[in-house]
C-alpha cells in the first residue's frame, strides 16, 4: 500500500509509440554504459589520438615543405618536428599515410573493438538483461542491430575519425584546397573502409561475445581468434612459401582491402586478387551473423 505521498501510483498520461527504431534506445544505453568508465577510454583511445596528431602533422609538414617552408620553421629544432619533417620528406601521398595509419594502429583498433564488444552480449546473459529486453517490443533483429551499433560506434571512431582528421588537415594545408580537388575521393573511401573494418570485426566480436557468459572469456577468445588466424596464416605462408595463405586471416585481408581502397603503398606479401579478400571478409562476416542469429534466438527462447 502507498505509505508516503511519493509512494502513490500515478497512471501514465502520455502515448506509447510504435517506432521501428526503438532499438536505438538500447544502442544509446549501451554507449552510455560503456563511456562511464573513463580509464579504458583514455588508454584505448590515447594512442590512436596521438598517432592521429602525428600523422596530421606529417601531412601538414609535407604540404608546407612543398610550399617552400624549411623544416626549422615548422617547429624550431625540437626532436618531434625534425622527425615529422623527416617523415614528410620521405613519406609520399596522404592516401598512403591513411593506409599506413591503419597498419600502424591495427592492434589498438582491435583492442578497442575487443574491449567494448566482448561484454556486449556476454554481460547481458550474465546479468539476465535479455530477460528484460525480450519482454519488450524488441525483435531479435532489433537487439542485434542495437548491439552492433554500439560496437560500430566505438570501432568507427577509431578507424574513420583519424582518416577524416588527416584528410581535413590535408585539405586545409594544401594550397587552394588542392587536396580536395586531386584526392577528394579519399574521404568517402576512407569512411567506406572504416565502415567495412568496423563491420567485419564488430560482427566477429559480437559472435564471440554471444558464445560466452563472461566478458573475460569473450576477450580471451577474441584474442585467441586473432592470434591463431594471424599466426597460422603467417606460418603456413612461410612454410609453403605462398603468401596466399595469409588470406586465412581476417586482418591480412582487411589490410589488403585497405591497400586497394586507399591506394596505399604496395606491400609485397599482400599481392593476391583483392576479390578474394572481399570474399573472405564477406564469408567470415556472414558466418558471424549466422552464429549471432542462432544464439540470440536461443536467448529469447530461454529467457
Amino acid at each position: 500500500m502507498a505509505r508516503t505521498d511519493t509512494q502513490v501510483y500515478r497512471p501514465f498520461r502520455g502515448t506509447i509509440g510504435g517506432s521501428r527504431f526503438g532499438f536505438m534506445a538500447l544502442a544509446r544505453a549501451g554507449i552510455a554504459a560503456a563511456t562511464k568508465r573513463k580509464l579504458p577510454l583514455v588508454i584505448l583511445y590515447g594512442p590512436p589520438a596521438i598517432a592521429t596528431i602525428i600523422f596530421s602533422f606529417v601531412v601538414y609538414a609535407r604540404f608546407s615543405l612543398e610550399a617552400g617552408v624549411t623544416p626549422e620553421a615548422l617547429g624550431g629544432r625540437s626532436p618531434a618536428s625534425v622527425i615529422a619533417a623527416g617523415f614528410a620528406k620521405t613519406i609520399i601521398q596522404v592516401r598512403e599515410q591513411i593506409a599506413l595509419f591503419h597498419l600502424a594502429m591495427s592492434l589498438f583498433t582491435l583492442l578497442v573493438i575487443a574491449w567494448f564488444g566482448a561484454g556486449l552480449i556476454a554481460d547481458d546473459r550474465r546479468l539476465g538483461a535479455h530477460l528484460l529486453y525480450f519482454a519488450r517490443p524488441l525483435s531479435r533483429g532489433g537487439y542485434l542491430a542495437a548491439k552492433f551499433l554500439v560496437l560500430f560506434f566505438f570501432g568507427g571512431i577509431t578507424v574513420v575519425a583519424p582518416g577524416l582528421v588527416i584528410c581535413i588537415v590535408a585539405a586545409f594545408a594544401s594550397p587552394d584546397f588542392a587536396f580536395l580537388r586531386d584526392e577528394g575521393s579519399l574521404i568517402p573511401r576512407s569512411i567506406l573502409f572504416g565502415a567495412l573494418w568496423a563491420g567485419a570485426w564488430g560482427s566477429v566480436m559480437l559472435a564471440i561475445s554471444s558464445l560466452f557468459v563472461r566478458k573475460t572469456f569473450a576477450l580471451v577468445a577474441s584474442f585467441a581468434f586473432f592470434m591463431i588466424t594471424t599466426v597460422v596464416s603467417v606460418v603456413l605462408a612461410n612454410l609453403q612459401d605462398d603468401n596466399r595463405f595469409l588470406m586465412l586471416s581476417l586482418q591480412w585481408n582487411l589490410q589488403r582491402i585497405a591497400g586497394w581502397m586507399l591506394d596505399g603503398p604496395p606491400m609485397e606479401n599482400l599481392q593476391w586478387d583483392v576479390r578474394w579478400s572481399f570474399a573472405v571478409v564477406s564469408g567470415v562476416t556472414a558466418a558471424a551473423w549466422g552464429i549471432l542469429c542462432a544464439r540470440v534466438r536461443r536467448f529469447e527462447a530461454s529467457s
Binding site: M1, A2, R3, T6, Q7, V8, Y9, R10, P11, F12, G14, I16, G17, G18, S19, G22, F23, A25, L26, R28, A29, A32, A33, A34, K36, R37, G119, D123, D124, R126, L127, G128, A129, L131, L132, Y133, F134, A135, R136, P137, L138, S139, E300, A301, S303
Partner: protein, 319 residues
Amino acid sequence: MAEASSSISDSVVVIRGLEKSYGTVRALRSLSLELAPGPTGLLGPNGAGKTTLIKLLLGLLRPDAGHASIAGNDPATASGRLALRRSVGYMPENDCSIPGLTGLEIVSALGQLTGLTKADSLSRAHEVLDYVGIDEARYRQADEYSAGMKQRVKLAQALVHDPGLLLLDEPTSGLDPKGRRHMLDLIHDLGHVQQKSLLLCSHLLPDIERTCRDVVVLKQGAVALAGGIAELTRTDGVRVRVEVGGDRARFEQALAASGYACTPEANGRLTVRLDGRAADADELFALAADSGASLRSVEEVRSSLEQVFVAGVANEERA
C-alpha cells in the same frame, strides 16, 4: 474468475489446449484457461509449468499445440508478440539488470524500448521508482543493489509503461520479511486499488491469498484447480463462528432442536454448520433471542487456501 465462467470478451488471457514439451518432459498438457481482469494467482509446486506458461504468454516460447491470446494479441505471431509486449509488464523471476546502468537509467531505457519518448520515460521512471520506494539509490549502479532493491527495480521496470496486465514471476523470491511485506503491499495496491490485471506466479500460498482474488493451481502442466479464492476456500456446507452472550446452553439446545450441528470451541465460541439454508443468519439471531442469548458476532469460517491447494492437488492425483 479464473475459469470458463468468464466470457472471452471479458478475459484478459484466453488459453485453449496449450501444450509444451521439453524433450520427453511435458511442461504443459492441453492447458485451457481464461483469466478475468483483476489479480490472479498462479500457484503450483516447482516444475508445475508456471514459468513456461508465462513465457508462452509473452511469446518467448512457441507452443507445440494450442493457442493463447493475451490482451487480445496472439503471442505466436510476430506482430501480436510486439503488440502484447506494449500492454504487458513482465517481472522475471531471475535476477536481471542491464550492465553498467543505474536503476533510473535501466527503467528509463526500458521505457524508451517500449515506445515512450525520452522525456516521458525519464519522468515516468522517477514516478515508478518513487512508487516502489527506491529513493536516492536510483542514481547508483544497479549491480550494487541489495536483493530487495533489485526486486523493486524489476517491478518498477514492469510498470514504467503503465501496462494493463502485469505478469509477476515469484516477486517475493529472495526477500527478507520486511521486503516481502512491502512487495506484497505494492502488489495488493496494484491489483485492488489501481485495478490492474495481474498474474502472480508463486509457490507461496500466503502471498497469493493476500494479494489475489482468483487462483489457478497448476500441477504437472495441467489445471488442478481454478476459481475465486473466496469460493474455493468456502467449506462444503457453510459454517459460521458465533460469539454468544447470555444463556449459551439454552442456545445450543435450541440449535440442536432446529437441526443445526454445532461445535463448541476452546475460546467459548460456537461453530455452527448451516448446510446451505437460506436466511440462516436471521434464523440464528431468532433462535438466540428465543433462548435468552445474544449473538455478539457472526463470521463465516473458511478453509485456508493451503487446505484447498492440498485437497485440489490430491484430487488431481486420484483422478
